[in-house]
Chain length 123, copies 2
């Protein structure tokens, strides 16, 4: 009875666990890229070709707090690294992790190829 209640409570928003590891992995990566701010942060880190030791929020239309939050998401996912350098924090892309994420993403994108409705309907 108690167990059933817990299961039912957890069911909302946790059905993701019922899908394959790979599907979850792709979804996780896609989620990281699903906000323009995080795209902008990654692009900025790539463009500067060096660590960002300064306030990235100055080049983004967001408050420092919000940017920090997005950075934290990217960092906890491993996509970027951040090292404290005196007064500032040096953020940069973890190319190894990012390349692996790209590989997973591209594999999926190329798997989605279908010959549709060859005989059943008109779409």
């Amino acid at each position: 009875m108690f167990t059933t209640y817990i299961v039912l409570t957890l069911m909302t928003y946790t059905k993701a666990l019922a899908f394959s590891q790979e599907q979850q992995e792709v979804a996780r990566i896609a989620k990281l890229l699903s906000h323009p701010a995080r795209i902008a942060i990654l692009e900025h880190l790539a463009e500067t070709k060096s660590c960002i030791s300064g306030d990235i929020s100055k080049v983004l239309p967001l408050s420092r707090t919000t940017v920090s939050q997005h950075l934290q998401e990217l960092k906890s996912a491993g996509l970027i690294k951040g090292e404290i350098e005196g007064l500032t924090v040096c953020y940069c892309i973890d190319q190894e992790v990012f390349d692996e994420a790209r590989k997973v993403m591209e594999q999926l994108l190329h798997r989605i190829k279908s010959v549709c409705c060859s005989d059943q309907c008109d779409c």
Copy 2:
């Protein structure tokens, strides 16, 4: 005063508009792929190599209502097409739209390449 209130109200969750068109486009595509159910749906549509005329929820660990909702998201984004075929609806991938989305996604993924911290820090 009234205008200011509206602007302030709209500011939450609409900062996305302040980013570039391309950043928004990538984020939009990524968001579609950010849930395992939608990945699973796309993979299933690709695997069957034909229209799905039946209840996709039967091969997914989700209720019919929820699956229908995910299908609607993919459809309104144009990634899949759905034609009513009598009693059932024939869903299939719009390969042209999907290929374009893949292109946009891959372009971004390959743009994120940085030589990090060559001289500034140790990450």
